[in-house]
Symmetry: C2
Subunit: 364 residues, 2 copies
C-alpha cells in the first residue's frame, strides 16, 4: 500500500492515483465545490492512504487570503501578564472553529523605528487583519499601522484618531464606581495612588476618581494623591510615608491591585488594621486578589471579552458582505467588593475573615 514518493504528496499525486483530475481532487480536499459522492470517497481514501496534507502556503498564494490575524504586542512587559494572557485566550476562543489563526508580532522587537518594520512585516505576511494590544500608546503607533490599509483594531487603549477601531475597558466608569463605593461606606478622607500619567488607563482611572469625589462634594487632598507606577514596591514606599502622617486618609484607592498590595503591606508594617482603620481598594482583580488576606476589594476588567470583541470585529470585517462600521467599544468594568474595605472607624459590618475569600471570583 505504501506507494510513497520521497518528497511531498500533492494533490496531483492523488489525481494520478485515482485517475481523476487535480481540479476534482482540489474540490474535495479544499472543501468547496460539488463532487459526486462516489469520487469524493475515492479521493478521500487515496488522500488517507498516501498520507496527504494540504499545503496552506500554496493555497494562500492562490487564494490571496492567509487566514491569519496578526496580534501585535510589546513582548517585553506585556506578554507574561495576566492581561495579555486573557486577551489572547479571548481571541483564540473566537478563532477556534474558524479557519483563522494567530500570528504574533513583537512591537518592540528591535530598535525604536521598528514600528514601521513591524508594520511592513505584517504587510509582507499578508495577515488579514491586525489586533494591536497596546496599553501605552504613542500617537504615531496606530497611525503607522492605519496606513497599511488593512482591517485593524486597537485593544486596551483609546486612540486619538477616531477613524481607527478600538475596544477598551471603561476605566473611567470603573474608577468612578469604586470611588462611590468607598464614599457610600462613609469615607470622606480618601487617598488615591495612580499609575504613570502617560498611560491612558491610569489617566482615566484618576479622572473617574476625581469626578466621583466632586459629585459628592468631597475635597480631594492633594497630598493624598500620588503617582505609583503600577507596582507594589513604589506603592509600599509611598504608603509608608503617607500613613505615618498624623493626618492620614481612612481609605486608599490604588489604581491597580499590585499597588493595593503595597498599601496593605505598609499598613501592616505600621500596625494599621485593614479594613478596620484603613480601607484599601484596587483595580484589576488579579487572581491573587480574591485569595490574599484581607481579600481585596477591586474592579474586575473583562479582559477575555476584549479579545472576543476584537477578534469578532476583524472576522466580521473580513467575512461579512456589508461594509463594516468603525467600532468604538467600551466594555464595563465590574465592582468586586470584598473585605479590604469597610465603614471607617472600625464600625465594621463585615467579618475579618471574609468567607468570600475562599470562593474564586468568577471574573470573566
Amino acid at each position: 500500500m505504501g506507494e510513497r514518493r520521497k518528497g511531498k504528496v500533492t494533490m496531483s499525486d492523488i489525481a494520478r492515483a485515482t485517475g481523476l483530475s487535480p481540479m476534482t481532487v482540489s474540490r474535495v480536499l479544499g472543501t468547496q465545490g460539488t463532487v459526486s459522492e462516489d469520487k469524493r470517497k475515492r479521493v478521500l481514501a487515496a488522500a488517507k492512504r498516501l498520507n496527504y496534507h494540504l499545503d496552506i502556503v500554496a493555497r494562500q498564494l492562490r487564494a490571496k487570503h492567509t487566514f491569519q490575524l496578526g496580534v501585535v504586542a510589546p513582548f517585553q512587559g506585556l506578554v507574561g501578564t495576566f492581561y495579555f494572557g486573557r486577551i489572547l485566550q479571548g481571541i483564540q476562543q473566537v478563532l477556534t472553529g474558524t479557519e483563522y489563526h494567530i500570528s504574533l508580532f513583537d512591537s518592540l522587537s528591535e530598535d525604536f523605528n521598528d514600528i514601521r518594520k513591524c508594520a511592513a512585516l505584517c504587510h509582507e505576511r499578508r495577515v488579514g487583519g491586525l489586533i494591536l494590544v497596546a496599553p501605552a500608546l504613542s500617537a504615531r503607533f496606530p497611525q503607522t499601522f492605519a496606513n497599511l490599509k488593512m482591517p485593524i483594531i486597537i485593544v486596551g487603549s483609546t486612540p486619538k484618531n477616531k477613524a481607527i477601531s478600538h475596544v477598551d475597558v471603561d476605566n473611567y466608569g470603573g474608577a468612578h464606581a469604586m470611588t462611590e463605593h468607598i464614599i457610600h461606606l462613609g469615607h470622606t478622607k480618601i487617598g488615591f495612588i495612580g499609575g504613570r500619567r502617560d498611560l491612558q488607563d491610569a489617566i482615566q482611572r484618576e479622572l473617574g476618581f476625581r469626578k466621583a469625589m466632586k459629585q459628592h462634594d468631597i475635597l480631594v487632598q492633594d497630598e493624598w494623591v500620588m503617582e505609583g507606577e503600577y507596582e507594589t514596591r513604589k506603592a509600599f514606599h509611598i504608603s509608608m510615608d503617607l500613613l505615618a502622617k498624623s493626618n492620614r486618609p481612612t481609605a486608599i484607592f490604588a489604581a491597580n491591585d499590585l499597588m493595593a498590595y503595597g498599601v496593605i503591606d505598609a499598613a501592616r508594617m505600621l500596625n494599621i488594621k485593614v479594613p478596620d482603620e484603613l480601607s484599601v481598594a484596587g483595580f484589576d482583580d488579579l487572581d491573587e486578589s480574591a485569595l490574599c488576606v484581607p481579600a481585596l476589594t477591586t474592579v474586575a476588567q473583562p479582559m477575555m471579552e476584549l479579545g472576543h470583541v476584537a477578534a469578532r470585529y476583524l472576522l466580521d470585517v473580513l467575512n461579512l458582505p456589508e461594509p463594516p462600521e468603525i467600532l468604538h467599544s467600551q466594555l464595563p468594568a465590574r465592582l468586586v467588593p470584598r473585605s479590604s474595605t469597610a465603614a471607617p472607624g472600625g464600625g465594621r459590618p463585615e467579618q475579618t475573615l471574609d468567607p468570600s475569600r475562599f470562593k474564586l471570583s468568577q471574573a470573566n
Copy 2:
C-alpha cells in the same frame, strides 16, 4: 510618478519599470545573488517609488521554507502566566534579527483528540520546527508530534521518549539546594508542601527535598508532607491545619511561591512570626516574591533561558550543515535567599525588614 496598478505591486512590475529582468529584481530584493551596484540602485529606487512589498507567501512556496517556528502551548492556564511570558520572550529574543517568526498554536483549542489536529495544523502550515511548551505532559502528546518528522523540542518537561529533545529546569537540584539551605540554617523540623503529583516538576521538587533530608539524616515526617496543588488558597488551608498542631515544623518548604504565600498568610493568622518562629521557602521567584513582606526565600528558574535554548536549538537544526544531535538540557535553578527564612527559634542573624526587599531580584 505614481504609476500604481490597482492590485499588488510585484517584482515583475519593478522589472518592467526598470527595464530589467524579474530575476535581477529578485536578486536585489530577495537579498541574495550578486548584482551590479548601478542596477541595484535602480531596482531599489523603483521599489520604493512603487511602494513594493515582498510577498512572503510566494517566497515560502518556492523556497519550501516558511521561516516560522511553531510554539505549541495550552492557552487555557498557561499563556497568561509568568512562566510562559518569559519563555516566549526568550524565544523572541533569539529570533529577533533572524528571518524567523513565531506561530502560536493552542494545544487545547478544541476537543480532546485535538492534539492530532494541532499536529496536522503545524504540518499544513509548514512550520520549520516546533517548540512544545508543556509543564504537564501526557505520554501521547510528544509522541504525536514526534511523528511529524520535523525538528521539535519540548520545554519545561522531560519526555519519556529519549529520542525527543528537551530543555527543562533542574527542579530536582533546585529543591535539593533549598532544602540544604534550610538545613544549614539549623532546622530539623521541616515540612513540605508539594504540587500535584501528576506534574513532572512537582515530582522532581519533592524528590530533591527527600534526597537532601536523607543525606543529612533528617527524618521526613509524613504528616508534614502535603499536596498543595500549586495554589495559594489550598496551601493556606493546609497550613492552618498543620500550624495549629502542638507539634509543628520550624520551617516549611513550599514547592512554589504561590503556596508559600499561603503558608505565610496562615502563619500571620495564627500569630506565628515569619521567619522568627517559622521559616518559609518557595520556588519560582515570582516578581512579587522579592517585594512582599517578608521577602520570600525561593528558587529562581531561568525561564527566559529555556526559550533561548529551545529557539537556538531549532535554528541550529534548521541551518547548520552538521546533523544536529538530540538535545537533553537541564538548566540550573538558582537559590535566592531572602528574609522569610532564618535560624530556628528566633535567634535570627537577619533584620526583620530586609533591605534586599527593596532591590529587584535580577533574576533572568
